[in-house]
């Protein structure tokens, strides 16, 4: 099985015997002895289908040698089929220094780690000259190389397969289910008793803004952001539109909602129509209040800026996700003297909104707006659930910092048991 490799080793063994003899005679240092020790092949080689992946991948693990260093190397050898006459003829698909590729470097959490952290591991994947077909058998082995000397371990057969569950992400699923449970529990609590909501100035100013538009006899401009309905921030913006449109209908004030996405426009038309119905003013509803402009970023911005300058809306609402157009829109709005309320989860645009708008809903406040404006138990309960979630995350951050510090100070592995639970492992 080891063919050529054994030949090299046989020569090495003979040489070693002579060297040991010389050592006993002239008393050379032990390090010289170890340099001439015959190269042993990698031990405890295991090859298996890479767990929790989409297939086309095999993982191999083996024990580290006692004397490995950057001077020696490991070669990964691959062959199709179930038999190979001479392992030395197998294709070398990877080569790396012997003091690299340990299990501890791989992102395996403790509950899926196949071997101890000090073992070597290498994952073979499709691509870069390697083709691993799902369901086909392959022979794989690893060789230890030092200069011209090479020792090859016995090849191991393995078959790559796609997996149905990514066990690495089970912590993510459990945390998501836990958070979902907290949200439902909080909704249940909110249905039984009133929950305090802190004042959010931006939302408290919604009435003021609509009232001002009514007094001036000017319309309200409401934007739902740059994204389409797949983005939660657009959904949140659409939900808030319902509340704003209801109050605008009650005050009999016109509302203009220019859109960048036709589907969002269709959804917002329904929401606005329902808001006018609920306000008892269905006859005031105009289908044209929601209209499409263009999907192009700067064309849309130019159109909305023009609308601000011509129609001079008294109140501008910027809800949802924004990019470079944020400042172009809000600065133009500020120049018209309109009261401006922004709400976004685009953290990169927050400074511009804070600078140019009268009120800004920062991040999660956008998602809290619906609860704040409606005061419905379901909405308020969800908000309380989010707060409990944040408290948990804060606790984990604090405990995690202490545990990780202790782990580093004591050089202990046990903190990883806790830290892996909160790691995003792909």
């Amino acid at each position: 099985m080891r063919g050529k490799g054994l030949g090299v080793r046989g020569y090495g063994r003979a040489m070693t015997q002579r060297v040991i003899l010389a050592v006993s005679v002239i008393g050379l240092s032990p390090s010289f002895v170890s340099a001439q020790t015959p190269l042993s092949p990698p031990q405890d080689v295991r090859v298996f289908d890479t767990p929790s992946d989409g297939g086309g991948s095999l993982t191999m693990v083996w024990s580290p040698a006692s004397d490995e260093s950057a001077a020696t190397k490991y070669q990964v050898l691959l062959s199709e089929g179930t038999t190979v006459p001479d392992p030395a003829t197998m294709k070398v698909v990877a080569e790396f220094p012997a003091n690299q590729r340990y299990v501890r470097e791989a992102k395996w959490p403790w509950w899926t780690r196949p071997v101890e952290r000090d073992q070597h591991q290498f994952t073979l994947r499709n691509g870069k000259g390697i083709e691993l077909k799902d369901g086909s058998s392959y022979l794989i082995t690893v060789a230890r190389v030092s200069g011209d000397d090479r020792a090859i371990a016995t090849p191991v057969q393995a078959t790559p397969q796609p997996n149905w569950i990514n066990w690495n992400q089970m912590n993510n699923l459990i945390l998501a289910l836990l958070f979902g449970g907290i949200v439902f529990y909080s909704i249940g609590i909110a249905r039984k008793r009133e929950i305090f909501l802190r004042r959010i100035p931006g939302l408290a100013a919604v009435d003021e803004a609509i009232g001002r538009a009514t007094e001036l006899g000017k319309p309200i401009l409401y934007l739902t952001g740059a994204h389409d309905m797949h983005d939660p921030s657009t959904i949140a913006a659409a939900i808030i539109l319902g509340r704003v449109a209801k109050r605008a209908a009650a005050y009999e004030t016109d509302i203009l909602v220019p859109h960048r996405d036709p589907i969002t426009m269709a959804v917002c038309q329904e929401i606005t129509k329902q808001a006018y119905l609920e306000a008892g003013k269905p006859d005031l509803y105009k289908d044209d209040s929601n209209f499409f402009i263009t999907s192009d970023q700067f064309s849309y911005t130019a159109a909305v800026d023009g609308m601000m300058l011509r129609k001079k809306p008294a109140a501008n609402f910027f809800m949802g996700s924004y990019f470079a157009e944020a400042l172009l829109l809000t600065e133009t709005g500020a120049s018209t003297g309109a009261i401006q309320i922004a709400g976004t989860d685009s953290d990169h645009q927050l400074p511009f909104f804070v600078t140019t708008c009268d009120y800004t809903l920062i991040g999660e406040e956008l998602y809290a707006a619906s609860a704040y404006l409606s005061r419905e138990p379901v909405q308020v309960g969800t908000l309380r659930g989010q707060d409990i979630g944040k408290a948990l995350i804060l606790g984990v951050l604090g405990i995690g910092t202490i545990v990780a510090t202790l782990g580093a100070l004591l050089d202990a592995q046990w903190p990883q048991l806790f830290l892996d639970l909160f790691k995003d492992v792909k």
């Binding site: 929790s52 149905w164 939660p232 426009m265 269709a266 499409f292 400042l327 600078t355 969800t382 995350i393």
Partner: protein, 216 residues
């Protein structure tokens, strides 16, 4: 009717919500294939929805022209531009260049659309300057802190500033990497929880106002 308008969309939302949330935990190629197919379907639906958007655009501006509302001339320009672009687009077979030669459609795009977009983007520089002037006026304690932090970061981010005040480079990095990054992460944690909570409400039908509001 109520089934089609309410219960069916809620049922579809529940099923697709659970299936695609589970998809995140399934690495099998079949799961990836399902996601790819759904994404393609969304693109196809988006294409059809564009007809809805364009018809809305035509309708709104047609009404303005018919009623001779204030600024109806802009609507006329829009009509001419859009129909003209569609015409040259069809004539050029949707191609910007043929055998290295620019088509009329390519000319419209390169010499009208691109410069107009560039102009809009260029205005941003002026707006940033005016917005910065407004926010950096030290009228309150918070504004003063903002002003000082901004001056340090601006000084530390340009070679001349770092040459004149060597400490400003490290200080600006510290402000960005420690103070700024920690606050950003706090905001992102809140946003993520808000997103998950909203998704849970929508998937389980607790939030229905996106369907047109109303409780029944």
């Amino acid at each position: 009717m109520i089934f089609l308008r309410r219960q069916l969309p809620l049922l579809v939302t529940l099923i697709t919500g659970i299936v695609f949330a589970a998809q995140y935990y399934v690495p099998h190629p079949a799961s990836e294939q399902m996601l790819t197919s759904a994404t393609k379907w969304l693109q196809i639906i988006g294409g059809f929805a564009l007809v809805l958007g364009v018809s809305s655009l035509f309708h709104v501006h047609a009404v303005k022209i018919r009623r001779k509302e204030a600024g109806w001339g802009y609507s006329f320009v829009l009509y001419v531009s859009m129909l003209g672009t569609i015409a040259v687009g069809l004539w050029s077979n949707g191609k910007e260049a043929v055998d290295g030669a620019m088509t009329v459609f390519g000319w419209v795009y390169n010499f009208m659309m691109v410069p107009l977009q560039g102009t809009m983007f260029a205005i941003l520089a002026l707006f940033i300057a005016s917005a910065a002037y407004r926010s950096f006026r030290a009228r309150s304690r918070e504004a003063s802190v903002l002003l000082i932090a901004a001056v340090i970061v601006m000084t530390g981010r340009v070679p001349l500033g770092e040459y004149l005040i060597p400490l400003s480079g490290d200080l600006s990095q510290w402000i960005l990497n420690v103070l700024n990054a920690s606050v950003r992460r706090a905001i992102l944690i809140g946003v993520s929880l808000g997103t998950v909570a909203l998704s849970i409400k929508i998937v389980f039908g607790l939030e229905r106002s996106y369907l047109g509001g109303g409780k029944e």
